[in-house]
């Protein structure tokens, strides 16, 4: 039956291929966290703990067991959907991730959309008018975007728009303290607030998003703009464009239907890569804007050797990337029907 739905079959095949990856991630993240220096029992036993209370803590954490026993327990819990208990936050890791992942995703996606909206037209303009001021502007933006570290851009934006001009809201995370967070549906405040029809909270959340998203967008638009420009230049100098022009097609048709569509593939590939490193670069933006995202969660967990939290984070990220790669592959076939699933 599946043969009649090649796309569905391909998706299922893809997901099946992801299983060994996920198993590998589970094993490696477990071993790596155990290889971390430091003794979590000592850390969590507290400031004035003595030998006895450290030992009590170790038993309570299950760290007195051998590694294989710990692993079997971990996998057993995992199969029941239990990611374990984070020691530092004292809550189930799954709850923590469910709270924090949407915050990071909302920020990253907003930033990416912003970056695409700016970078793609900029790249196209630069490619169609090489050597003009647009091209130079593109180059300057790209260089600045790549060379300014995000935490610096973040602090600079806060300094100018919040501290000096006072037009940005206080950089206090996802919502100013005077708002209540909207009911949890997707975890994306903009979507949840819109679902409730609570536009005041929506505006509050949107305002808080502007500066961090701009910071992250500045950082991510550089590779997108560069790639768009390069891909467009290649496409525009190719034979089929010359043919299209010779056939007397209008400039717009040549540019968008033939050149742009063909240069979309590398741009989408870059987008996928940018998305993954933007999630990583988030950590610094999250710190500066007090954004309760997944990056700062992982770093804090790592610092205190909070095994369950680190493992949960790595696993969530792995699943996210499996999904992301799948989406990008599907996008390829939509953009360029010549790329079939048979080839994969």
């Amino acid at each position: 039956m599946l043969t009649s739905f090649p796309r569905l079959r391909a998706i299922l095949l893809r997901l099946a291929q992801a299983i060994p990856v996920v198993i590998g991630v589970v094993v490696i993240s477990f071993l790596l966290t155990r290889a971390l220096p430091g003794d979590p029992a000592v850390y969590f036993a507290g400031v004035a703990a003595d030998e006895a209370s450290i030992e009590e803590t170790r038993v309570a954490m299950g760290l007195d067991k051998s590694l294989p026993v710990q692993f079997v327990r971990y996998v057993g819990d995992l199969l029941q959907g239990d990611l374990g208990q984070s020691l530092s936050s004292g809550r189930p890791v799954a709850t923590d991730l469910a709270n924090r992942l949407p915050a990071s995703l909302e920020l990253t996606l907003t930033a990416l959309i912003l970056a695409v909206v700016i970078a793609v037209p900029l790249g196209i303009l630069a490619a169609t008018r090489p050597g003009t001021w647009v091209d130079h502007l593109c180059r300057v933006v790209v260089t600045a975007g790549v060379s300014l570290p995000t935490f610096f851009t973040g602090i600079l934006l806060i300094y100018i728009f919040y501290y000096l001009m006072g037009i940005a809201p206080s950089p206090l995370g996802r919502l100013d303290f005077i708002y209540l967070s909207p009911d949890h549906v997707t975890g994306f405040y903009l979507i949840d607030a819109a679902l409730m029809g609570d536009w005041e909270t929506w505006r509050g959340a949107a305002k808080q998003l502007v500066l961090p998203a701009a910071t992250l967008a500045l950082f991510t638009l550089a590779p997108i703009a560069r790639m768009t420009r390069a891909a467009m230049l290649t496409a525009l100098s190719s034979d089929y464009i010359r043919t299209a022009k010779a056939a007397g097609l209008s400039n717009g048709t040549v540019l968008y239907r033939y050149a742009f569509r063909n240069s979309l593939l590398p741009v989408v590939t870059t987008l996928g890569m940018v998305f993954s490193f933007a999630l990583g670069a988030n950590v610094l933006v999250e710190k500066v804007f007090a954004w309760p995202g997944i990056g700062s969660y992982a770093v804090e967990a790592l610092v205190v050797s909070d095994y369950a939290a680190v493992q949960g984070f790595v696993l969530a990220m792995a699943l996210l990337f499996v999904a992301l790669n799948l989406v990008i592959d599907l996008l390829y076939t939509t953009i360029d029907p010549r790329i079939g699933f048979g080839a994969q």
Partner: protein, 535 residues
Amino acid sequence: MTDQTSRRNFLKMGAAGASMLPFLRALPASAQGNDTLVVVTGATINSLDLHRTGTNRASYQVGINCYDRLLTFGTKEVPGNGLSYDYAVVEPELAESWTESDDGLTLTFKLKPNATFWDGRKVTAADVKWSFDRAVSVGGFPSVQMKAGGLERPEQFIAVDDETFVIKLDRPSKLTIPDLAVPVPYIINSVEALANATEDDPWALDYLHTTPAGSGAYKVARWNPGEQLVYERNDDWVGGPLPTAKRVVIREVSSPATRRALIERGDVQVAFNIPDKDAAELADSLDVFSTPVENCIHCLCPNFSFEPFQDPDVRKAIAYAVPYEDIFQAAAFGRGLPLWGGSEKITDTAWPRKTQYYTDLDKAREHMAKSNHADGFDVPLSISLDLASWMEPTALLIQEALGKIGINVTIEKIPGANWRTAVLVEKRLPLHLENFGGWLNTPDYYFFWAYKDGHLFNSSNYRNEEIEALVDASLHMPMDDPEYAPQIKRMFEIALDELPRIPLYQPALNVATNGAEGYEFWFHRQLDARVLKAG
């Protein structure tokens, strides 16, 4: 009626009934007024229950603001630095009065008859007993802290009747009463807790972790870990004068630069525990309180298990080589108190105190020449990456100075998760920086933790028979005992001559306020929200 006006009407209705709602969905700017204070801090509150394993330091403030103890400390003025708790004055909080038997072994507390928990139930001696039993039974830090005051077993606590609570001690100790006023022995609503306890969890650790059940000045209205904690006033509080702020919002902002922008703009009223650098720079424009932390010293510790440091002349050479003033300026930006250049003769029992050492490279070289290591040696100086803000500049200056007397120092940076194991548990770092501070403000208590062999903060593996005997003798002795002062002075003499810890300076806790008054320093170094008011 349009959507807009109905919303406005809703807000008006909401403002009238604000006491019912923890929060309006959006407060109009004018309603923030004097009722709400916003505090920013860099630390994360990870639990609402101090007794739980894994609860971090920043979470102790919930124990302070949401729960009551039997006793608390009074308030005193610190010249030039606002208010501080007063170790010398113990005041009642939930207790109305207390008596001590003549032999000092029985303490009898009368509870305030009108004290109630948030659910309206009267606070009884049974609650006190259950809470104390819990603190000594759960293990870990709370039990260690209780033990410091001689409180070790549930049998020591007796609920005589609803309003009378008795503590039986094994030996009289001057530390017991102060230990009842630290954050640990707080009183929990035992009926509510027991209703949520399970067989695996008889002390309701899971329940109280997220749901405090106390009688304190503030209730927790909201808690989003990693984001914010919102306190809401308990209008029936009898533990002290009712706080003026109806609501206190604690926001977690990990970037110090962002915290600084927020407090300078006045969008938040208190920035708690700001870096020394910001404190020094903001002192002109805002109210900045830099209170030297009592009974706390930033030290350089030569480890006795490392052969060259067994030589007293090497340790003295280091003590004379350390560039104290430069360290104080570079690492602490002059916040805190200098601890060098004092007199050798010890005439009082103040601690921390100025040592007789000062920067004098000639003297340092003389001591090195006299030692068995005149040609110098190599040693790593270990610092914690978590505490890099003061340890890194300090280590660099020490490295440079010791290089001049032939000690070749390499700096070893240890990740925070590793630090405690390496420095305090294994005690394996030859030369390192350390920053112990004792909650109970007596010199013998500091010596108990930091100079007695095998004790946690004695990271130098130091052992001196006389110190052992002196600490044991003075630890529980009343401070007005005629033998007390001579014993303490003798301890100072030995410790400062033998130098297992070389005091560098006394650090400060920095708090900036912009539109808030009444900040008070506490030994636990957490924010007491109860005394803050808008202003």
